[in-house]
Amino acid sequence: MTGQKYILAFVITAAIFGTAFYVASRFDARRVADIRATQEAISIDILSTETQFELLGRLDCSTITESAVLSEELNDLASRLSVAENNLGSDDPQVILLKKQYSLLEIKDYLLMQQISDKCSKFKPVSILYFYSNEGDCDDCGRSGEVLTYLRQQYPGLRVYSFDYHLDLSALQTLVALRKLKGELPAFVIGNRAPIYGFKNLEEMQTIIPELKTLATTTAAQ
């Protein structure tokens, strides 16, 4: 009888562990679904802006407004993606797929903003391309990410596009080649300038990007 009890207790304990594992994985699945839905919504937004831009052709700059909302959506997506990456691991196939989609959305948004700013002189977005890695070959990436997150919170108009340098995505590799990145990390491309490498603290970052002064700050910044 006692022997049976030892086994029964083991079975129930294992079942509870199994349930905990299952519930946790359901939550992760919900997260992935949530990110996927957001990405779809963003991709429709981008497509819509692109179409609008093409329809207007020679364009009327007054109708184009900087879509700060979209930038916020992308930012929010970035933080959600990093939660999913922490939970599921950066080598999880779903995570890799989501990151690829996210990177593509970022590149498209980046290109669209460039096109718009070329044609409309009143429109001067401030953008940073940020290249990082979490494969252990970039000790300063965590801290650099923190500085950028803070800047993004302070200047909602600042467009930060962050890319996993090692992501196997041809469009991203083209961007890397175009911007003549050397492979040193972290790397920042501010506007159309040459890449900057290595960790920069908040103060240094603000000196490197004098355009920040032209952007509105959040009330929290005061």
């Binding site: 006692t2 009890k5 030892y6 029964l8 207790a9 083991f10 129930i12 304990t13 509870i16 562990f17 349930t19 905990a20 594992f21 519930v23 946790a24 994985s25 939550f27 992760d28 997260r31 949530d34 929010d76 933080s79 959600r80 939660v83 939970n87 599921l88 691991g89 999880d92 965590g142 801290r143 923190e146 500085v147 803070y150 919170q153 960790f199 603290n201 908040l202 103060e203 929290a220």
Partner: protein, 415 residues
């Protein structure tokens, strides 16, 4: 989910598995044989009982203790109360002597200070009662506690000792409230250990022995300042049966300060380690039933798991704090509260460990509720809050101290 799980985390999972397994095992035992409720039945006979009250500088509580013993519902000519003054330097002796002159039941003996076990043995040698019990001079008994204990003895002639259900006497301060929950949990698992015939300690407050126990296995020993644990180990080693009377209620005063609590628990925990070493042959030995197979190994494993988990948590918390401090210093980014959008479910931690911890705490809660129902303990909500918030923070301190003390084979301090 278990992505990136390191060795450290694996150890925490192992500890949680152990804790959950143990709790479930006890719950199964509970539903397998539910404790019988209290009955109005009287004992078939009233044997001679002697209650020893070892006391050392207990002037504040000894009167209350003796009064509670005098109001025990038991024939006066069958019950003698033996105060053994272990060299008190305060008014303990005067108070006890006064009781001895007013009540013929009370006997007072003075001896040179020699430690609690010497006081117990001194008393044992000066009584011939059929049943001998002990009540620490910081504890009080419910009037029917002795009857309930004697009834429990009557159920089987093999029963050699009976332990009561222990409650905290008038818990008020936060640390006492915490301990009142802990003692209630103790009421539950003592009953379950009874089902398993594996009660591991005969606590000072009102454990009752058949006299023949001492004739068979000898008197109390120093036993690293835990004579009440050693005698239980020795009884198991000699196949003597210990049971629990959950209807016999005893109230004990508990440490009111963290310092005093840690000192008391270090003594208990270190005593467990040192007695475990002395009785190492009982571990995993089928001859000693559930005591050797379950209670001893789990006790030791729980000790290690508690210490390990606490160290792991502390290490992580420190690492987090240090790395954040360094980040703060090097990035120049001011500290800030998490953003509002971070309040969504998406950012809640929902990993497997969280759910397992919830299960362990849930089972603990069920055990406490069952313990409270067994012995009619009323626990206000704030005592649960005190227990769940504080116990995990304080317990590792005495575990560490006890492990260190046992390692250096340094004797613990009584008080």
């Amino acid at each position: 989910m278990i992505h990136g799980m390191n060795i450290g985390e694996l150890g925490v999972y192992a500890s949680l598995f152990l804790a959950l397994y143990f709790e479930i095992f006890l719950l199964i035992s509970f539903f397998e044989r539910r404790p019988a409720p209290r009955t109005a039945r009287q004992p078939a006979r009233y044997p001679n009982v002697a209650i020893l009250v070892p006391s050392y500088n207990e002037e504040r509580t000894i009167a209350g203790t003796l009064e509670s013993l005098l109001s025990l519902d038991y024939p006066k000519d069958k019950l003698e109360l033996v105060v053994v003054d272990d060299g008190s330097m305060d008014k303990t002796g005067n108070i006890a002597k006064k009781f001895a002159t007013e009540h013929p039941q009370v006997k007072y003996f003075y001896k040179e200070n020699g430690g609690k076990y010497t006081a117990l043995n001194w008393g044992l040698e000066r009584t011939s009662a059929e049943f001998v019990g002990c009540l620490d001079a910081d504890s009080f008994v419910a009037p029917d506690a002795l009857l309930e204990t004697i009834k429990r003895f009557e159920e089987s002639p093999d029963t050699m000792a009976v332990v009561p259900a222990m409650k905290v006497y008038r818990p008020r301060r936060i640390l006492e409230l915490m301990q009142s929950v802990e003692y209630t949990f103790g009421i539950f698992y003592k009953k379950m250990f009874d089902n398993l015939a594996a009660i591991s300690v005969l606590p000072g407050p009102f454990s009752l022995y058949r006299r023949e126990v001492f004739e068979k296995i000898g008197m109390f020993r120093h036993a690293h300042n835990t004579e009440d644990m050693e005698i239980a180990f020795r009884m198991h080693a000699n196949g003597l049966k210990i049971v629990n009377a959950h209807t016999a209620h005893v109230y004990t005063t508990v440490p009111k300060t963290v310092r005093a609590l840690i000192r008391q628990r270090t003594r208990w925990s270190q005593g467990f380690l040192q007695n475990s070493r002395d009785y190492a042959y009982m571990y995993f030995n089928r001859r000693y039933g559930n005591f050797g197979l379950l209670v001893l190994p789990f006790g030791l494993a729980a000790f290690a798991a508690g210490l390990y988990t606490a160290t792991y948590m502390l290490y992580n918390a420190l690492e987090y704090a240090v790395s954040h401090a360094l980040d703060y210093w090097s990035t120049g980014v001011p500290l800030q509260a998490p953003a509002i959008e971070r309040m969504s479910w998406f950012y809640l931690n929902t990993n497997t460990m969280i759910f397992v911890v919830v299960a362990v705490l849930g089972m603990t809660f069920v055990a406490i509720i069952l313990g409270a129902r067994l012995a009619n303990v009323r626990l206000p909500l704030k005592s649960y809050a005190a227990y769940f918030a504080l116990f995990g923070l304080i317990a590792p301190l005495w575990l560490a101290k006890a492990a260190w003390g046992a390692l250096l084979a340094r004797e613990s301090i009584w008080r």
